[in-house]
């Protein structure tokens, strides 16, 4: 046994630094310059889209349209109708009529068949939808192709089967559909959020008026074409497009028996306030500031991949993104070094390129919000790291960003950035990790990385979050309920638990 005069703490620190220094760098040099590999399938986007009401595409009563741009090029890809309050009213009347005359009366067994049809038709046109989604929203084609579109189809397929099995979903009490449901969805997963909202609503016998996000309406309107192909009875699903004013009209319409909203906590609170005094049912899927917690016994390389996926998936435009990394102090230096190397080889650029890891930020407004919050991180004293990757000259792009030296009071540790920005904090003990992870008004999701099964379950028990991922992150499944604690909202989407929110007990 060798004798050393170095204090144990200092020795440990030296060892950690040495471990950090040993982290192999991923340097590919010119080999990293891949040839472009663009996805070339035809997205079949029309030059102009009308509203979809009562099974037909109809012009908006005000005759107004807005441009929808590709955020990667800033070029206009389509013109979208602006729905006025009058248009929203027409949509609700069409939905109520469908509920009264066809959909509400149809046996679950038959309703389910329509929903199965929708799932199949999405699968048939999956590539076309993926390209459209990427052009409209800026997400990498590999994500829209491998995640958004197949998962949207899966949600319809899963829920179709519930249509005639509600007695098993909600035992002990018969249920009935609510009637017409108003839904407003965000721009981060346009088609998938549409599926999360529409699949359970119509499978349980409701009719829908849905407003897609202003910047990402195209796939909803392509989906409307698909509903015509499926021969879905007119009025069961209606789409009204536009900005916040249209959304407010959808949420507050007197016919709406229930409203479902996915979006920011601020807007969710506004909607809750505006509906005070009404008897509308509500579900809210709001913001998040998830902790991704890495213990020192975790398989670090696997954890690095998971942390990267957790925050840079979909440019960080994910409500459940793992935007706060909590790493155990003893491995923090090594882990952050690995993380920096890893993000230095992420490919930021053309979303349609099959090799792209990080696509375009969804809009100029969102890019400015990210820039503002990153600036606050620098000003408040956190240390910023960004790789020196080249960004395209046009379009809205942002480098993957890591902040170290972040404290819990920094804005970048409290506020939802909704962009590719990771804040790194450290902890020593499990209790400290739990305390820091739960120290937020949000409670949507959390991640735990450890080799120890019992610790996974301990952490999962202690964390105040609706979804806990262990040794993985950003996994979704139609059978797995999703939704938040605290100010991340209420209600669940998916799984058996999501169904009760769309029916009433009789």
């Amino acid at each position: 046994m060798s004798v050393t005069k170095t204090a144990p703490k200092a020795r440990k620190k030296t060892q950690a630094a040495a471990a950090a220094a040993r982290v192999p760098k991923l340097i590919f040099g010119d080999l990293w310059e891949f040839d472009p590999a663009p996805e070339t399938a035809d997205a079949k986007i029309k030059k102009q889209y009308e509203l979809f009401i009562g099974g037909k595409f109809v012009a908006p009563e005000g005759g107004k349209y807005f441009d929808s741009i590709n955020p990667a090029t800033e070029k206009v890809i389509s013109r979208i109708a602006v729905a006025s309050a009058g248009d929203v009213d027409r949509a609700y009347k069409a939905a109520q009529s469908a509920f009264d005359n066809t959909w509400g009366k149809m046996p679950g067994r038959e309703r389910g068949k329509y929903v199965y049809r929708i799932a199949r038709l999405i699968q048939d046109r999956a590539r076309e939808f993926a390209v459209a989604e990427t052009m409209d929203g800026g997400k990498p084609i590999k994500e829209s192709r491998d995640f958004d579109v197949p998962m949207a189809a899966a949600h319809f397929f899963y829920h179709a089967g519930w249509a005639d099995k509600m007695d098993y979903a909600i035992p002990g009490r018969p249920t009935e559909p609510l009637g017409v449901v108003g839904q407003v969805i965000p721009w981060n997963f346009p088609l998938l959020m549409l599926a999360w909202k529409i699949a359970p609503a119509i499978s349980t016998g409701n009719c829908v008026v849905l407003k897609p996000a202003e910047t990402t309406s195209v796939t909803a309107l392509k989906f409307a074409e698909l509903l015509q192909e499926a021969d879905l009875p007119p009025g069961v699903v209606n789409f009204v497009t536009g900005a916040g004013e249209t959304g407010a009209a959808v949420m507050s319409h007197p016919i709406a028996a229930k409203v479902a909203f996915t979006g920011s906590t601020d807007v969710g609170k506004l909607i809750m306030r505006s509906l005070a005094g009404t008897d509308k049912k509500m579900t809210m899927e709001l913001g998040g500031k998830a902790a991704n917690i890495v213990f020192d016994d975790a398989p670090l390389d696997q954890a690095v991949e998971g942390v990267v996926n957790g925050i840079f998936f979909n440019q960080g435009h994910v409500c459940c993104a793992g935007s706060r990394l909590l790493v155990q102090e003893s491995v923090a230096e090594e882990f952050v070094a690995k993380l920096k190397h890893r993000i230095s080889v992420l490919r930021v650029g053309d979303p349609l390129d099959k090799n792209t890891d990080i696509g375009a930020i969804n809009s100029r407004a969102q890019l400015e919000k990210i820039e503002e919050l990153v600036q606050s991180g620098v000003e408040q004293g956190a240390k910023m790291f960004q790789p020196s990757c080249r960004l395209p000259s046009a379009g809205f792009f942002y480098r993957p960003t890591i902040f170290t030296g972040v404290t819990q009071s920094h804005r970048i540790a409290c506020e939802e950035i909704f962009g590719p920005v990771l804040s790194v904090l450290t902890f020593r003990t499990l209790d400290e990790a739990v305390e820091k992870a739960n120290n937020t008004a949000y409670g949507l999701s959390a991640g735990v990385w450890t080799d120890k099964g019992s610790r996974i379950l301990k952490m999962s028990t202690e964390l105040k979050a609706g979804v806990v991922w262990a040794n993985t992150f950003n996994k979704f499944d139609p059978s797995s309920p999703f939704g938040g604690y605290k100010e991340s909202g209420f209600g669940r989407e998916g799984g058996r638990q999501g169904l009760l929110d769309y029916v009433r007990l009789v």
């Binding site: 005070a276 809210m284 996974i456 979050a465 499944d477 059978s479 209420f490």
Partner: protein
């Protein structure tokens, strides 16, 4: 006055004694944090007996009293949530035992100040006992009915469990003041929540007596905190207190709106029923596992499967 109904009758000599003996009236106090307290303000409001005469002064609790009750609930809540469901079941069952064994006292507490006929009051007490037994039975079962494993596509053991939301505010219906209180509180506490209860403003006395029974059950202090007072003074604090994570209220339209507005600020779970439409608390439909579901969170864990 409370206590007047307790006259002893042990033969003629004791009858003679009771003829001259002055009954000891009870000072109604509210049950908060396991203790019997007056309002911090020292305020009370009088309630009348069935003959219209003075019955007792009941604490007119303030917003500060409500905040203190929330603090008591916060202190006690965490360990209550961690108790085993079997233990919570037995404690709620024990409360039913306490109520059953003191049912005459409770029936009198309902009947005397409210004018409800004694037979009806007895019915209300037995229904309340049965309701407690019903929910005691759910304590270690509702998770089996409401939660499940999920067959996800991938190498994960995916399961959904339930957790309490935390502190829940309960604003009790004025009709059937005891049965409504039990029906609103029992499903909330069996899952591990702590509650702050505003008793019926019109008929607060049964809630005061219930506090005395809670103290002799094994329910830890601070899990059920009962305050009395005026709704109009307290409703805003129920609505906006950020540590209250859920609200179950039977109130009029204006109060309902105020609760909803306040709930929005901290994204509270709100269940507001209209007091204008009479609720039949005796009906089977007034009890359900879905009453428990109103104030729980679902947590879904993705646990890896691998060597």
């Amino acid at each position: 006055m409370p206590g007047e109904s307790r006259k002893s009758s042990n033969g003629t000599s004791s009858a003679a004694r009771s003829a001259v003996r002055v009954a000891v009236a009870k000072t109604p106090k509210v049950y908060v944090g396991g203790e019997f307290i007056r309002s911090e303000s020292g305020r009370t409001y009088p309630i009348k007996g069935d003959d219209g005469s003075f019955f007792a002064n009941v604490p007119q609790c303030t917003r500060k009293d409500l905040r203190n009750a929330v603090e008591a609930a916060a202190k006690a809540g965490a360990s209550w949530a961690k108790r085993t469901p079997y233990n919570r079941a037995q404690i709620v069952y024990r409360l039913a035992e306490m109520l059953e064994s003191r049912s005459d006292e409770m029936a009198a507490a309902i009947a005397s100040p409210s004018g409800i006929p004694l037979d009806d009051a007895r019915d209300e007490v037995t229904a309340a006992v049965d309701r407690l037994i019903y929910y005691a039975g759910w304590a270690d079962k509702f998770e089996q009915v409401l939660g499940n494993t999920n067959p996800v596509s991938g190498p994960f053991f995916n399961f959904t469990v339930v957790e309490p939301v935390g502190i829940v505010g309960v604003i009790v219906d004025d009709s059937s003041p005891l049965l409504a209180l039990i029906s609103q509180v029992a499903p909330v506490i069996v899952s591990g929540n702590a509650v702050v209860v505003l008793a019926s403003e019109q008929h607060p006395y049964p809630a005061i007596v219930l506090g005395e029974m809670l103290a002799t059950s094994d329910l830890p202090g601070g899990i059920v905190n009962i305050i009395t007072g005026q709704r109009k003074e307290l409703i805003a604090t129920f609505a906006t207190h950020t540590h209250i994570r859920g609200l179950d209220a039977v109130v009029g339209a204006a109060d309902k709106k105020e609760l909803a507005l306040g709930a929005a600020d901290s994204v509270k779970r709100l269940r507001a029923r209209s007091s204008e439409k009479e609720i039949d608390w005796f009906a089977d439909s007034a009890q359900s596992v879905y009453e428990i579901r109103n104030f729980i969170e679902f947590k879904t864990t993705w646990h890896p499967i691998g060597a």
